[in-house]
């Protein structure tokens, strides 16, 4: 595959009023994207919670962590609906669909899980968030202990879930396993801070010389006000003005589109794998042999406590 067309779908919490409304909205969006040759679509994190909320379970007007716990403990029924809906749409439109995320109880803890569906209608895989923000630890979430890369006919895909976007270890581990495109569904508390996006996936893209789709849920979710944002990123050398953004197009001057104002249409871009050795790119294996191969420091620093 020399190039692939990808898209991020904007989604705000207020869009999802029922399962049927979500299905119709998503089907309409995917139909448009499929017509335009898009092969891979990313939804933001939290889609499982939006669908759960839309079913109006009792007592859901509490706090977000309480809602998550409720969702995770009742996941069975909701999860099969979630799977069926997204598998059906992925198959109908012949698209790889990273359908956002939900919360599941695994190994006795609640974990934030993102899911990827293939054009055959199958579940390609799921990825748990592997690092937690302070507040997420306080909520009692658990961490995943695996980072998977899936070989598809689009290329090798990896997922960076939620807060993992701000942990460069995650991108590095995925890219060392050959990931070519990173999918990053997230939920970021508002108010919007433009430079936050540059500290997360944008840095991982530049360090690892890889493509990434970044999609943050927007709107009000239970008691959380979220800053919505979408972007498709590449190494600076592979973007029109050297900004590292394929979409939205950012002026070369040091400004960013105002967060919270979502584009009217889905964000689309073409990822060109032919330009993998563009000018100025550092090789992925750009490491000091002694420091890393002899493991002088790497295991040590991660053994040391906080």
């Amino acid at each position: 595959m020399t190039s692939v067309k990808v898209a991020c779908l904007d989604l705000t919490c207020e869009t999802v009023t029922s399962l049927l409304a979500y299905r119709d909205w998503l089907a309409g969006q995917l139909a448009i994207l499929a017509d335009q040759g898009v092969s891979l679509v990313l939804l933001p994190a939290g889609t499982g919670m939006l669908l759960f909320k839309a079913s109006k379970p009792p007592g859901l007007n509490e706090t977000f962590p309480q809602a998550v716990k409720k969702l995770a403990t009742r996941a069975g029924g909701y999860l099969s609906d979630f799977h069926d809906l997204h598998r059906m749409l992925a198959r109908r439109y012949n698209i790889y669909l990273a359908a956002g995320s939900t919360w599941l109880e695994q190994e006795g803890t609640v974990k934030h899980i993102a899911l990827l569906y293939g054009p055959g209608g199958g579940i390609i895989g799921q990825q748990a968030q592997t690092h937690l923000y302070k507040r997420e630890k306080e909520w009692g979430w658990g961490r995943g202990s695996d980072l998977k890369v899936w070989s598809t006919h689009l290329g090798r895909l990896g997922m960076v879930v939620g807060s993992d976007a701000w942990y460069p270890e995650v991108g590095k581990i995925l890219c060392q396993q050959g990931a070519q495109i990173l999918l990053a569904p997230a939920m970021v508390p508002g108010p919007a801070k433009p430079y936050t996006t540059l500290t997360g996936m944008w840095q991982q893209v530049q360090q690892n010389q890889v493509f990434a789709l970044d999609n943050w849920l927007g709107g009000q979710l239970v008691d959380l006000r979220l800053a919505g944002w979408c972007a498709i990123m590449a190494p600076c050398e592979q973007t029109p003005d050297g900004t590292g953004f394929l979409a939205p197009l950012v002026p070369p001057k040091m400004t960013l589109p105002k967060l919270g104002k979502l584009p009217q249409k889905p964000l689309m871009a073409k990822l060109d794998f032919n330009d993998v050795d563009g000018p100025g790119r550092l090789p992925l294996g750009f490491h000091s042999p002694t420091l890393y191969f002899h493991q002088k420091y790497v295991p040590h620093i991660y053994e040391k406590g906080v």
Partner: protein, 358 residues
Amino acid sequence: MLWTDYLKESLWWRYMVLLCRPARLRRYLTRKKIGRYPPQQRVDRHRVRVAAVQVKVKMVNDPLEYVDQMFSLTRGAVHGGAQMIVFPEYNFVQLLGLWPIASKKRGATDLRSVFPISGADIMLKDIFACLSPISQAVYFVTFSELARRFTTYIMAGSLITTDPEGKVVNASHLFGPDGTLIGRQVKTHLAPVENDWGLSAGNDLHFYTTPLGNLALPSCTETSCFELFRQLAWHGAEIALFPTAYHWDYTDWKALRGIWGRVQESAVYGIKSVPVGEGPLNLRFAGRSAIYAPLALTPKGDGILAQAASFDEEEIVLANLDLEALHAYREQHQAGDINRELYEKYMPGAYKQIPTPA
């Protein structure tokens, strides 16, 4: 080689030794009448004032021109209140102008054409090794004296020099307010062009505890990878003194993927110093020196405490660092999680799969 060439070379070296002798450089600085700068009695950890110097590269015909430039910049920084000053990478290239043939071949793009040396196996590192005694002497005396006379910490930028084992390395040096050399860091991640030159990489990281904070001296390409900064932060570094040199088409966007990003990931302060102007071999340097902090510790939330206004002029960038606020930020910082199980599973194994760089 003809006997006349031997004679010329011998006379030239003797002339260089005379020109660059420490006493001459010290006498020059004494005539500057620098005055007394008493040492700071008490350091306020809420207000450590630092400077990043943006140096315009000017090839010199006399080492006193180099001393003069460094003196002016140091004085400017100290008069701005700086207690610690950071100079850029390759803060010695000006001295290559001392070689007479270099001044005649200012537009040369190949160092070998400037310093013709026979021998198929000669690399540029050998040329640097040959020049090292002179550049090292001027560099060390200059910054030792400036640090002592102005009673300030100076990270003198980096110098390509020969280490005690005979390897040619790119090393940064930290001088204390009494003029002693208190720190040295050999660059551990060489740029591709430095590999081509034949330089050797360092294999250790050093950290320095001073009254102005815990310091580390990463340089240039060492900010391409987050791991090194993780190590700095875990070893207690509070401030990264960062000499670098951009000899590609500089843009603010490309610069963001260096120390700015590492400061955000690892919650340290970063003081970045760059050279600007035209160096030898048609190397053009451009960039903006700056002082960075985590987003939440900066007035505009952009991670920048202070930044040079231009990318091609000499400037001194000054800012105050609050070390106590940094520690408070680290305590409250939402990130900072560690997943040991993940790292044990992937980190050593993943790195073993990388082919050894040529």
